[in-house]
Structure formats: structure tokens, C-alpha cells
């Protein structure tokens, strides 16, 4: 009986030792590609790392936290929009390092409000002393840039990029439009507000963030036809017919740009 226990223990130790070898006898091809990619990243061979990580991404057993590997690799390659998309579409809860690279990516893309929020959140959450000091530097530089009220051309910059990207890359478009919304909120007077929130709602609807759209547009003080349409779409996507129905009926009755789509959407709502 005792010998059986010892045998079990030996098997356990042996299998663990095999794994630690990290040699060609890896248990899965995905694990091997992942490790090769990580080691390429470590050596600064980011193109090679990306090739390996793309293979991992296509595998059915890809790790849930692939953004932890892929996002920083794309960042190091200067492919910041792709890095951002990788970070924000990940379903895994980001750890501190992933979040730090998300902050850096936002900083490079001039998404300073988002970068600031990420770094402030990280500092609250707790980082090591080196990264904490770096996060503080990022926040200080952003605050210095925003010491004065942002002017309309800054809002135009973000709104323009967001609108330009809306059809081809709604994930990144949403980030620029959200930045525009946050910058606009810092301005003393309203500027392109309805247009920005409507476009943001549309981008969020297009990327499956109906909850965020509802949160954004439900309390909108002066809704436009487009904001009402995006809000109705979000409610419908959430299966919430009660608030969606009157909005859609109003759009149909107004016979505006989205009347036909609104009528079709009404038909799909449960009574």
C-alpha cells in the first residue's frame, strides 16, 4: 500500500520535471508556440514573437489572456491601434502589467483621458514601486497638458478620427469617440456633444456594448433622432422591449432616416 503511494508520488514528480524541461516534447503545439513567442519577445525579436502569437491566437486552446502576450508585442512593433484592439476586446480580466501596457498604448495613440484613467486605476490597485512611479509620471504629464481647458480643435481631432474609423474599425473608433466625449465634458461650453455621443453609441452597438450605449444615452438631456435610434437599438439588443418600443414608434412616425430599420426592429420585439 505504501509502495503504491510512493509510486504515485514518483509519477507526479516525473511528469512535473518533464514539463520543466520546456524542450521539444511540449504537451501541446500551442504551448510551444506561446513559449517561443515569449522568448522572442524577451530578446526583442518582436516580429518573430508576433508570428508565434498569431499561431497561438488561431488555436482552439489559445489562452484566455492572450492580450497579455499579443497586446505588448503589437505595442512594441508600433502597431498601436491593433494593440489597443487586442487589449479592449480581451475577455480576460487584465492583470496589472497588461493594464500598464494598455495605458502606454493609449498614451501613444493620444488617448490621454483613457490613459490617465488606466494609470490612476493601476496606482489605486497597487503596483510595484518602479511601475508605480512610472504611472505617476504618465498621470502628471497628462494633467500638465490639460491644465487649461481643451479647445474645440482638440475635440475635433478625436471626433474626426472616431468618425473616420467608425465603419472600418468600430472598436478603435469607439475609443476615439469616447475620448472626444471625455474631452468635450472638460470644456466649458457644449461642442458637437449630440454628434459625438450618437456616434459613440453607434460604435458601441456595433461592437456588442449595448449596456454601455444605454448607460451613455438613456440620461441624455436633449436627445437627437440619431441618439434615440442608437438607444432604441441598444434596448432591442438587450431584449428590453418596454423602453425600446416607444422610441422605435416615434422614429417610425417621424419617417426619418432610420424609419424603415426601426419598423423592422419593432417587428422583432416581443409583445
Amino acid at each position: 500500500m505504501r509502495s503504491l503511494c510512493v509510486a504515485g508520488l514518483v509519477i507526479c514528480v516525473w511528469t512535473h520535471a518533464r514539463a520543466d524541461d520546456a524542450g521539444p516534447a511540449a504537451p501541446s503545439a500551442t504551448g510551444r508556440h506561446l513559449l517561443t513567442g515569449v522568448r522572442a519577445f524577451k530578446d526583442g525579436r518582436y516580429e518573430e514573437a508576433l508570428v508565434e502569437l498569431r499561431v497561438v491566437a488561431r488555436a482552439p486552446d489559445a489562452p484566455a489572456d492572450l492580450a497579455f502576450y499579443l497586446g505588448p508585442t503589437l505595442y512594441k512593433l508600433g502597431r498601436h491601434r491593433e494593440a489597443l484592439a487586442s487589449f479592449v476586446t480581451s475577455h480576460a480580466t487584465p492583470d496589472a502589467l497588461t493594464a500598464f501596457y494598455l495605458g502606454e498604448t493609449c498614451y501613444q495613440l493620444k488617448l490621454y483621458r483613457k490613459a490617465r484613467a488606466v494609470f490612476v486605476g493601476l496606482r489605486t490597485r497597487g503596483l510595484g514601486p518602479v511601475l508605480d512611479e512610472a504611472a505617476a509620471r504618465y498621470v502628471d504629464l497628462i494633467d500638465a497638458a490639460y491644465h487649461a481647458e481643451p479647445d474645440t480643435s482638440t475635440i475635433d481631432y478625436y471626433a474626426g478620427l472616431g468618425l473616420e474609423l467608425a465603419d472600418g474599425n468600430p472598436v478603435v473608433a469607439a475609443e476615439y469617440l469616447d475620448e472626444a466625449r471625455q474631452v468635450e465634458a472638460l470644456a466649458k461650453t457644449r461642442y458637437r456633444h449630440g454628434e459625438i455621443v450618437a456616434a459613440l453609441g453607434k460604435a458601441w452597438n456595433a461592437t456588442g456594448h449595448a449596456h454601455a450605449t444605454v448607460e451613455l444615452l438613456a440620461g441624455e438631456p436633449s436627445p437627437t433622432a440619431e441618439t434615440s435610434w442608437q438607444l432604441a437599438r441598444a434596448y432591442a439588443a438587450l431584449g428590453d422591449g418596454v423602453p425600446a418600443r416607444p422610441l422605435l414608434e416615434a422614429i417610425v412616425n417621424a419617417r426619418g432616416a432610420n424609419a424603415a430599420e426601426a419598423a423592422a426592429l419593432l417587428m422583432t420585439l416581443k409583445p
Partner: protein, 127 residues
């Protein structure tokens, strides 16, 4: 007790499967910490007239081109944008705006020519 043997073996194989992921995660974490950009460059808020399609990437991997070759076009774009912005801010006519555009194009051409000269005078070794 035979069950204990099977459980031990199963746990062992499970450990073998996850050890690679753990190794990769630990190595990546160390690399990310070592390669983080700890000293951000100061910023100015972007304006419409100077909106570049892609942000400059100080941390980006050098793709075999000289720093001048990558920096010059950005400078040219900035110069172009600044000239255009000045023209627009002063409420000048369309003709002046065209002039500004022409001046900006000339500046861009000059910087590209300079970059080409730099490359010619400082050739990079073939890979």
C-alpha cells in the same frame, strides 16, 4: 489505495499541461516589466490641423531605417500642418491656403531630400 495512485498520476499530468502556460506567463511578466516605457515623453494636446493618421512611436522597433528617415516626414507633416493652421487662423483667402499647402509640400520635399542625403552619406550595412 490504488485510487491514490491514479489521482497522483492525474495531478502529475495536469501539472505537466499547465506548467508551460505558467512558464510562459512568468517569463512574459518578467520581460514586460523589464521593457516597460517608464519615462514617457511630454505631450501637447492634439489639434485638428495637426491630426496625424498614426501616432509617433518612440518605443517602436527600428525597422532598419535611420532615425532621420523616420523622423523627417513627421517633421514635414508638422510643418505643413502648422503653416496651414496659421493660414486658417488668420482667416486668409483660399488662395493663401493653397500657398500654404504649396509651401508645406515644398518643406516636405526638402526634408525628404535631406533624409535621402543622410541615407546616402550614412549607408547601413546589408543584413
Amino acid at each position: 489505495m490504488r485510487h491514490l495512485l491514479f489521482i497522483s498520476a492525474f495531478l502529475g499530468f495536469l501539472a505537466a499541461g499547465t506548467a508551460y502556460a505558467d512558464d510562459a506567463h512568468a517569463e512574459m511578466a518578467a520581460a514586460l516589466t523589464a521593457q516597460a516605457d517608464l519615462h514617457p515623453v511630454p505631450i501637447t494636446l492634439p489639434k485638428t490641423s495637426a491630426a496625424p493618421r498614426h501616432a509617433a512611436a518612440p518605443s517602436a522597433v527600428k525597422r532598419g531605417s535611420s532615425p532621420h528617415a523616420t523622423a523627417m516626414p513627421d517633421n514635414a507633416r508638422a510643418a505643413a500642418a502648422q503653416t496651414q493652421a496659421q493660414a486658417q487662423a488668420q482667416g486668409t483667402s483660399q488662395a493663401l491656403a493653397h500657398q500654404a499647402q504649396a509651401a508645406a509640400s515644398a518643406a516636405a520635399g526638402q526634408t525628404q531630400a535631406q533624409a535621402a542625403k543622410d541615407r546616402a552619406s550614412h549607408p547601413h550595412p546589408e543584413k
